[in-house]
Symmetry: C2
Subunit: 285 residues, 2 copies
């Protein structure tokens, strides 16, 4: 079993890490066997191939990252082998780097409790992304943990996110604003750190989420392969301390190179993104 290196609230550990490393960059771990770098293509066993790849990525980028974010779907796609790879990859990450499991789950009653035990205890993740559609009681077993974090999906980065998230409520506001308000209510009633997920592809929604939640961490996907406008997103989402955004990049870092220097290329892309983010946040401060 692994877990947080030291106690304290998740947001404090995240903020400390951002400050110590001067970095808001979170490296997304989305292993795709079809895109492995050439030197790893000879590894037949899918579990070993994923672990070798992620070991290289973690070693090359950990000192530049405020967090890592493995996405459960890329591991479950390989069944048992994938879950074993996820457990091994979790243990490769130094214990002072927070790890967010991107699972986007939610379920009711006893199932939610089972998920929370799996995510936080069996696997030792520091935080998890959750889907708000089922309501507060479905998230309660996750929210009950004072030393862990949850990031509630608010406005996701994909083109179809508006199907539900932009639906106008009776008061004229889109549904995603209601989710930001609910996150505040849930945070007031439960001890876990409550953050939001807002895609960099929607700077207007990001500004609204930041206004509603001035001090909550916001996980920001969509700046790499998804082409969100980084400058606009940072202007909209940085908090009053010049932080509070977990800027996530997955494919642009993982697959920056495919030759012998793949790990160096991943490091260079992480460094480039960190510096670009920092240029914008210095300008804002």
């Amino acid at each position: 079993m692994v877990g947080p290196a030291f106690g304290g609230a998740f947001d404090e550990r995240l903020n400390d890490r951002m400050r110590q490393r001067d970095s808001l960059v979170c490296v997304g771990l989305d292993p795709d066997l079809a895109r492995l770098p050439d030197p790893l293509r000879g590894i037949d066993d899918p579990e070993d191939a994923i672990v070798a790849f992620l070991a290289g990525i973690v070693e090359a980028t950990a000192d530049l990252a405020c967090a890592f974010k493995p996405n459960l779907g890329f591991f479950l796609a390989h069944g048992t082998a994938g879950v074993r790879a996820l457990e091994r990859a979790r243990r490769l990450i130094p214990s002072d780097v927070p790890v967010v499991l991107d699972a986007k789950i939610a379920d009711i009653g006893s199932t939610a409790a089972a998920y929370a035990r799996g995510v936080f205890d069996a696997w030792g993740f520091d935080a998890v992304t959750l889907n708000p559609y089922l309501g507060e009681d479905a998230l309660a077993p996750f929210l009950a943990r004072p030393d862990r974090g949850v990031f509630v999906l608010c406005k996701t980065s994909n083109p179809g996110s508006g199907d539900l998230q932009d639906v106008a409520l009776a008061d004229g506001r889109p549904l995603s604003r209601r989710v930001a308000d609910l996150a505040n209510a849930w945070a007031a009633r439960h001890p876990a750190t409550v953050g939001l997920v807002v895609g960099a592809t929607w700077p207007g929604d990001l500004a609204a989420a930041r206004a509603a939640c001035p001090d909550r961490p916001i996980l920001l996907p969509g700046v790499g392969a998804q082409q969100g406008d980084l400058a606009a997103a940072l202007a909209a989402g940085i908090d009053r301390r010049g932080a509070g955004l977990v800027v996530t990049s997955s494919r642009a870092i993982l697959y920056a190179g495919s030759g012998a220097d793949w790990a160096d290329r991943a490091r260079a892309e992480t460094e480039r993104l960190r510096d670009e983010v920092n240029r914008h946040r210095i300008r804002l401060a």
Copy 2:
């Protein structure tokens, strides 16, 4: 690799099974090690204990069931051992019984594609429950499969489901009605069978979902341990052919007995529920 025993649309296979077995009962597979029957408590290995338990349940109930529904959370709670148990349990189910993976997932782009490969190809499930909050493109890789089914969460059975699902839209209707309309739109654009999940605890919402979707299968949790009113739910949700409802019971069947006769007790409870459902549907017809 396992999978559907024969081709054809998921809803046709489900309807055939309901007719052949004269049963709308779906047995939910939510293994909880703390509640295993006494004769299995000596099995130390969690994977083997789960598989032994589910093998007994499947053998005792398969001929009475229109479907089985394993819930991913109860397996992921045990990490790799749980996923191995899920894969083994899947293979224990006779290939003429549809199996719905209750995962309540959704993710974007390449992650959704990875999940769909895992659920349908690596694991061979016939259908899956999905969360609509991320919108159509997040569900598209699942919806693209003509021989599989998706059940979209519409109004869930838990007490807090209203936090989002009951929120009033600008037109005065609750959000869950919008989801039922979206399910119709998605079904018109994609080849998979599209059904809904509506909790038996909300007969009014179930009647509205049936009115919006007269011919879609509706997965109905909440009749067993959650104490939904079965007669009211059947009156609200049965379709014009006297079917169309997948009446799910998990804990009430799985843990009906804890002694040497635990499998017989599970069978008796399944039979009792099947007959109770059939009494109400004959009365309706």
